[in-house]
Amino acid sequence: MEATTFLPIGMGLIVIGASLGIGKFTAAAAESIARQPEAADKITGAVNLPLFLLEGVAILAEVFTFLMLIL
């Protein structure tokens, strides 16, 4: 069995991890905005940066998987 056989499973794991992270993030942000609507701008600003960093990790994993697939 080749190593590339398990790559789709790896892709699936990446998607599960990233979506769980982003989902928790958004849920927390929505909840806190609902509690304090006047702080919505500050909350959005604070959520933005970690969200992009998290997305970057997911994208990195995806790129490495893809490179393993084609190389």
Partner: protein, 309 residues
């Protein structure tokens, strides 16, 4: 292997789809540059598709951003009008909501020009990837002018090799991230002096065994920051196009699988709306990635200037 060879060989559709997708998102391969130039010092200076697109982007930024701003500044009018209003809104947004909170009020005017340059360049390079101008040219060339795909001396056939998104190339984004890397150094040096900038990398006043772990981690973080910027931008721009092309390729794949044109046409009713939806998503991604690159650059510059420990 280029796609022209793949298309000429008697391969099944399934084997052509993968190389075709890669061909549409990667740079034009070394055997099909737009303008072949000799090799100097072991580096191939041929003008490839992405180099050409970088020139197009630079030209577009010059005529849509730089020239109107120069004209406005030299006209001496206090209020902008028309197109300048739009530019001013973006400039003000980047200065007030990206640069000022991160870099701090003292250094805003030093670093906003760099952030604006990065933002406009990445925005235009990303956006031009969504315009299928070369594919339309290729269709026109093939079906109106009647030039066969095998004609290698035809200019339009030559420029069809490779994708149009220059920021989807890791080399381009690595160059942009290198600018970020050196501007982080410059920002720290300008704010604290050369020696203090390097001292600021690790927090002061900890027990000495902590530094054995901390200093390698901080040095690694120095490299990881631009590396993550490189990968994020290039992978986002490549990934969206791959998804788009994969959805469109479903038509060919289904048509081949069931040996009927009807199956392909039937799948088109699902895959075309989905491709249109992904194109809509891509337009958001184009804006968001330009914003993210600018934001992260300003955050990293701010981290070098406003040291918290």
């Amino acid at each position: 292997m280029s796609v022209v060879e793949a298309g000429n060989a008697s391969q099944s559709v399934m084997e052509q789809v993968g190389p075709n997708i890669i061909h549409h998102v990667s740079n034009s391969d070394i055997s099909h540059p737009i303008l072949g130039l000799p090799t100097f010092f072991g580096i191939d200076f041929s003008i490839t598709k992405h180099v050409f697109m970088l020139w197009v982007v630079a030209f577009l930024v010059a005529i849509t951003i730089i020239i109107p701003i120069r004209k406005f500044l030299s006209s001496g009018r206090p209020t902008p009008s028309g197109w300048m209003n739009a530019i001013e809104a973006i400039v003000q947004f980047i200065r007030d909501s990206i640069a000022k909170p991160n870099v701090g009020p003292k250094w805003v005017m030093t670093w906003t020009p760099l952030l604006l340059t990065l933002f406009f360049f990445i925005l235009f390079a990303n956006g031009i990837g969504m315009v299928p101008i070369f594919d339309v040219l290729g269709l026109f060339n093939r079906f109106v002018m009647g030039v066969p795909a095998s004609d290698t001396h035809n200019f339009i056939n030559n420029i069809l090799h490779g994708g149009v998104t220059a920021t989807g190339n890791f080399n381009v984004t690595a160059a942009l991230a290198t600018i970020t890397f050196f501007s982080i150094m410059a920002a720290g040096t300008m704010a604290h002096g050369f020696i203090n900038h390097w001292k600021n990398l690790a927090p002061h006043g900890l027990a000495w065994p902590v530094y054995i772990i901390l200093i390698p981690i901080e040095l690694m973080g120095l490299i990881v920051k631009p590396f993550a910027l490189t990968m994020r931008l290039a992978a986002n721009m490549t990934g969206g196009h791959i998804a788009l092309l994969a959805l469109l390729s479903l038509m060919a794949i289904f048509g081949e699988m069931f040996h009927s044109t009807l199956a392909g046409v039937g799948v088109a009713f699902i895959s075309l709306p989905m491709a249109a939806a992904i194109s809509g998503l891509e337009i958001i991604v184009v804006l968001v990635q330009a914003y993210v690159f600018t934001l992260l650059t300003s955050v990293f510059i701010g981290m070098a200037i406003n040291v918290h420990h």
